[in-house]
């Protein structure tokens, strides 16, 4: 089988794509495949593509949002623009630095941005600092009552009473509204 693009070399890379229940296949030689993937990375923001946010016909760099281009991770220095291009974060702190942008992105990717999985066995004992540093911001992702109650529990076990008091007040407020 020869490459679909250059028609000369042997196709060794096989792409299968399913769009609207239509399956299409592409067979490329290594060189053309490499070119194609660099082209794609330059043309579209990979992170945007992952989330289906961008229109593939428009290049990502046309974004007029100047604030985004200077935003950087406070710890590893990764520019937000690089994350948009390559779709990879640089460290755990990026999640806090890019929180606003990631909230929507994660919901797009997963259909939800609410975490329901396990907690590391030693998380509360060892990582009091990140919990209290996150402070009131950690409350923002969800106003859900059961969520807040869970957060209250973890704040209490972490002996972060200041935060616990804030969550308690918030729960009271919400419960009051419901009644």
């Amino acid at each position: 089988m020869t490459c679909d693009i250059c028609g000369k070399k042997k196709a060794t890379v096989h792409l299968t794509e399913i769009v609207d229940e239509q399956m299409s296949e592409m067979h490329l030689c290594e060189e053309c495949a490499r070119q194609k993937s660099t082209q794609m990375e330059q043309q579209f923001g990979l992170a945007d593509l992952l989330a289906g946010l961008s229109d593939p016909s428009k290049p990502a760099s046309s974004s007029k949002d100047s604030e985004k281009s200077v935003l950087k991770c406070a710890r590893c220095g990764l520019p937000y623009e690089d994350f948009r291009k390559f779709g990879r974060l640089g460290c755990g702190e990026c999640y806090t630095s890019f929180k606003e942008h990631l909230t929507g992105l994660l919901r797009k990717i997963h259909g939800s941005n609410k975490y329901l999985g396990k907690t590391p066995v030693t998380y509360q004992e060892n990582q009091k600092a990140p919990l209290s540093e996150a402070g009131p911001v950690a409350l923002l992702p969800s106003e859900d009552l059961s969520d807040l109650k869970q957060q209250l529990q973890s704040a209490i076990s972490a002996e972060d009473f200041e935060k616990a008091a804030m969550i308690r007040d918030k729960i009271r407020g919400l419960e009051g509204k419901e009644q």
Binding site: G87, R88, L89, G92, L102, L106, K114, L116, P120, T122
Partner: protein
């Protein structure tokens, strides 16, 4: 364990038994974890990567569930050895291509493997034979807990485990199942099934992993989402989907038998004959013939072969394995010859 010792056996997960083993070859669960104290591998210096390796090694030495496992340092292996580990489904292509600062931990029976410094600091995987995601989850969950007692993972209560790629953020878990679906392919229903799978936010790929084309009627199906569901929920969802696909494949197999039994028997027996007599064979042709023989075995057309032998051949006929068995570098033509010899020997073919 030396790398050559791997050649004396194949992974326990290839034994070919377990729930629905006639359609499901194997089940795999993987977790991505990052260590809080370091930046992710893609943003790390050589020194950082070495420190992560060291921290992981120290932790493993204190852990009983991983006692007796072997840690391979990628920089100490040559290209063929690294390829051998990829071919055994113990690590990714990506992990083999750039060895700097990377490691791989493998337990004795190859049930558990942990890639160190791939895209994330740790990529833990557990493989089981047949449809057995729950068991794989139980094993990996225990290992994850043990590791968490020694290492601080990057984690936020609101978003779960933090990973380099946002598609993994949350549970950072992927469950995947390798399915053999020849009847759905032969009855031309496979595209419909794959389209439905992708609509339900599950992905399908070929036997040899990410970025490979489905071949020989083997499809790997896995979950895509990691937020909004617990790990057990995700596993139950995959199980539910897989059971439906199994049912469809079973119905298609019955339909094939009813419609044209002699044609099916002919296809199976010709494949069996070719495998036991061929002198030169490409891996693509071999896999297609394995698929037919496997189908024949599952439908009672063939009896003198077992799943274990067929599953082991899938691994052994790959380039690095053939070269290790032969003990020297082989070019493409030499590999096709060696491949045919390995298959004849394993399937009791006669060297006429």
């Amino acid at each position: 364990m030396r790398i050559e010792e791997l050649l004396n056996h194949t992974g326990e997960w290839l034994r070919g038994t377990g729930p629905s083993a006639h359609i499901v070859m194997s089940s795999r669960v993987r977790l991505a974890r990052n260590l809080e104290a370091w930046t992710f591998p893609g943003k790390s210096s050589k020194k950082d990567l070495e420190d992560v390796l060291k921290a992981f090694e120290d932790a493993v030495n204190r852990l009983s569930p991983l006692k007796g496992s072997t840690l391979f340092l990628m920089t100490e292996l040559d290209q063929v050895d690294r390829q051998l580990l990829v071919e055994r489904h113990l690590m990714s292509h990506e992990h083999a291509s750039n060895p700097e600062g990377k490691g791989l931990l493998v337990t004795a029976e190859e049930v558990v493997s942990i890639m160190i410094n791939e895209e994330d600091h740790l990529r833990i995987q557990v493989m089981r034979s047949g449809l057995n995601l729950s068991e794989a989850w139980n094993i990996i969950n225990a290992i994850d807990d043990a590791l968490a007692r020694e290492l601080n993972f990057a984690f936020l209560p609101s978003w779960g485990f933090l990973t380099a790629c946002p598609t993994n953020t949350g549970t950072a878990m992927r469950g995947s199942v390798m399915m053999h679906l020849p009847a759905l392919v032969m009855t031309k229903q496979i595209n419909k099934v794959l389209a439905a799978i992708s609509k339900l936010s599950f992905a399908s790929r070929g036997f040899y992993g990410e970025g490979t084309q489905a071949s020989g009627n083997f499809y790997q199906i896995s979950n895509q989402v990691a937020l909004g569901h617990s790990e057990l929920d995700i596993i139950q969802n995959i199980n539910g989907l897989i059971r439906q696909v199994i049912e469809q494949e079973e119905q298609a197999r019955q339909a094939l038998l009813l419609q044209n039994k002699p044609m099916l028997e002919d296809k199976v027996c010709r494949s069996w004959g070719l495998l036991r007599t061929a002198r030169i064979i490409s891996s693509q042709e071999a896999i297609e013939l394995f698929s037919m023989v496997r189908l024949g075995l599952d439908m009672g057309i063939l009896k003198n072969v077992d799943h274990k032998a067929l599953n082991e051949l899938f691994i052994m006929i790959q380039p690095a394995h053939l070269q290790k068995i032969e003990g020297k570098k082989l070019n493409a033509f030499e590999r096709d010859t060696k491949r045919a010899a390995v298959i004849r020997q394993k399937l009791g073919g006669k060297d006429v």
